[in-house]
């Protein structure tokens, strides 16, 4: 089977080969899904049938293209599954292991074929070992013929249970679109909305004051808004794919570490921007690994602590106040605040005399190189990880929180924006410039009275807002712009939050609220502190988006 791959006439047609690869991948991901379901409940005939169908289709396609290695393998898998369908064997984790391995093998083959399609020489990896193990698991239970008669009668009842009719309807209602086309569409729709707004606010047209024109313009605005929302929705993906990747990971890890873990998935249908779902895969994987390795105890330890030997890991997604919130919860031993603090003191990250609050202690695990693991395992413990997680989440403009109860488990809570492309912003004017303040960073706004303002050493300004003194950052001073007025009480204060501390941003006036499409800055202004990006305003000018963290952080430094 390790012969170099010779593509037959059909398979050397790149179009056909690509179709095969795409279609097979889809079947493989479906197979994995159902296999994991089968692992939970071996009597799930619907899942069993789905796995069977997937392999069967791949076998057919591979046969058509004369890809023998894949064909023989899938054929043998089919035989095993058929035995299970006939109830002559019952599915055990050993079976699942072999079938998962075969699935991975086919996946590897597809990658090779993909290279072949682009002209590179390739040969499929050998599958003799896999075939042998398939035969081994298939033959074991066959030695017990006593079970077969019972299977015969059961056969009739399992057959009609196949959920065939529902399947085609779902497939027909969606089509595949190249992501580049989709991104381009979203870009163009953004442009269209801007152009529409330019027309709407055109002073010459506004001067005409014709009711029909106004009506038509309003209609145009409504339609383009709708188109934009739809285009954005097209980029949204349910978080399901990410969750299912994790179910495979949890299964593999728990078998490797000898811990028993039950994975619970809640809110799989929660939709997120495609980009965010992709970027989330790594951090969530890290957190799941961490939970399994550090959080979850061995079955013996759990039993000794009077807990269910089977640990529970929950992935929960849902919407909350315009954000998507993702929880990674385990019921393991929880974070050991004392141990973390001790390690942090050893490393000199915390003064020996300081007594940080529990929350601050937990946040120490996000420091680079921090690890409390006594030994490095293949899973985790090297101290790379949580800092990467934090950085990745921050890159997505998200937040991460830790909740932990010693002995009862820990929860990592991620708060993420729905999309990376658009933010709600307040338009604030300073001098002749208009800046966009991200709405998520705004706590409140107020016009200060002169008696609320006090100064420290005649330099630093503070404002008393409802009993708390907040420092003031004058935007015009930070950015070197001439303001409309030097009097704080003539302008507006935007109360914002950075690094968990509140502060006031002094601006001249508020222009309004607008949803803006974020454009990143390039070249020399890529790394201006306090500026997160740019956006095109309703009048076609470029407005800069402020980054409150950067604005305030600079002051502190």
């Amino acid at each position: 089977m390790a012969d170099p791959l010779e593509l037959n006439e059909l398979a050397s047609d790149p179009e056909l080969l690509r179709d095969f690869i795409v279609e097979s991948r889809e079947h493989l991901s479906m197979i994995e899904l159902h296999l994991l379901a089968l692992d939970q409940d071996p009597s799930d005939t619907a899942a069993l049938n789905a796995v069977f169908r997937g392999f069967h289709t791949i076998k057919g396609l591979a046969g058509f293209l004369e890809l023998d290695a894949i064909q023989t393998l899938t054929h043998d898998i089919e035989s095993v599954l058929d035995l299970a369908r006939n109830n002559s064997i019952s599915i055990t984790p050993a079976h699942i292991d072999v079938i998962l391995a075969s699935k991975d093998y086919v996946h590897a083959c597809l990658r090779q074929l993909e290279q072949a399609a682009s002209g590179a020489p390739c040969d499929l990896p050998p599958n003799t070992e896999l075939l042998a193990s398939i035969h081994a698991v298939a033959e074991g239970p066959q030695a017990k013929p006593a079970e077969v008669p019972a299977a015969m009668s059961a056969l009739a009842s399992t057959q009609p249970a196949e959920p065939e009719p529902a399947q085609p309807a779902v497939e027909a209602s969606s089509i595949k679109v190249d992501t580049h086309k989709l991104d381009f569409l979203v870009d163009m729709v953004g442009e269209m909305v801007i152009a529409q707004s330019l027309v709407k606010h055109d002073p010459d047209l506004a001067g005409l004051a014709k009711p029909r024109l106004a009506r038509n313009l309003a209609q145009l605005a409504r339609i383009s808004g709708e188109v934009q929302r739809t285009a954005m929705a097209m980029r949204m993906l349910p978080i399901r794919s990410l969750f299912h990747k994790m179910s495979r990971l949890v299964r593999d890890l728990s078998r490797k570490t000898g811990k028993q873990v039950e994975l619970e998935l809640i809110g799989e249908e929660t939709e997120l921007d495609r980009g965010i779902v992709e970027e989330l895969a790594d951090p969530v994987m890290h957190m799941v690994r961490n939970s399994l390795d550090h959080g979850v105890e061995t079955p013996e330890e759990r039993a000794a602590a009077g807990k269910n030997p089977v640990a529970r890991l929950t992935l929960k997604a849902g919407h909350q106040a315009g954000c998507v919130v993702l929880h990674v919860i385990d019921d393991g031993r929880g974070l050991d605040a004392q141990k973390i603090l001790r390690k942090a003191r050893e490393k000199g990250m915390v003064d020996a005399s300081a007594t940080p609050a529990e929350n601050e202690i937990y946040n120490l695990i996000f420091a680079p190189g921090f690890s409390t693991a006594e030994r490095v395992t293949s899973v985790s413990g090297r101290g790379v990880g949580m800092d990467v997680v934090l950085r990745q989440i921050q890159k997505l403009r998200g937040k991460i929180e830790i909740q932990s109860t010693p002995g009862h488990g820990a929860a990592f809570v991620l708060k993420l924006p729905l999309t990376l492309a658009i933010i709600d912003g307040l338009l604030a004017r300073v001098g002749n410039e208009t800046y966009i303040v991200p709405l998520f960073a705004v706590r409140e706004m107020l016009r200060p009275l002169p008696e609320m303002i006090s100064t420290v050493e005649n330099r630093e300004e503070m404002v008393l807002v409802r009993g708390s003194l907040l420092p003031v950052v004058r935007l015009h001073r930070r950015f070197g712009i001439a303001p409309r007025s030097e009097q704080l009480s003539d302008g507006l204060l935007i109360v914002s939050e950075a690094q968990g501390k509140r502060f006031c941003l002094a601006v001249d006036e508020l222009v309004g609220k607008q949803e803006v499409v974020i454009k990143s800055l390039s070249g020399p202004m890529r790394q201006v502190r306090g500026i997160a990006g740019a956006a095109i305003l309703g009048d076609g000018r470029v407005g800069l988006i402020l980054d409150p963290e950067g604005l305030f952080g600079r002051k502190a430094a």
Binding site: I194, L521, I531, V542
Partner: protein
Amino acid sequence: MQAVIETPVPNKTDARAGKYLTFGLGKEEFAIRVMSVREIMGVQEITVVPQTPGYVKGVINLRGKVIPVIDLRLRFGMPEQDYTPRTCIIVVNIEQEGARMLTGVVVDEVCEVVTLQSGDIEDTPDFGHGVATPYLLGMAKQKGKVKILLDINKVMSEQEVHGLGDALL
């Protein structure tokens, strides 16, 4: 095009030969490769970006793309001048750290597109007193006038361009 075909091919072909867009800056005439020019536009409203070097004028909206704009006069340390109706923004495609990006360059005026032969181009003379000029491709003389050939990628690279104004004026 005709001119290109009729001119006899020189024995030694210079990699610098080809079509250039020329523009004026003060009393000098500069030239950049036509291939790197994306478009030429009049001056439009520029949004100032704080905490950037003085030659970085800010950002503009190029049909929905936000691109940086630099003032070549200030980049070369020449005195600043108010923009006139002849002032143009040349949008160039530059490569930095392997990534392509569009940048606007403010110049006093855009002149013409010329084809420079190998014979027209000379190496940059040594200005002495240690003036490093890595962004100068060379000098071209045509019809008795000198055009300074710029490597626009190097002009844009982050390091400071010192003393060109002094050296040339």
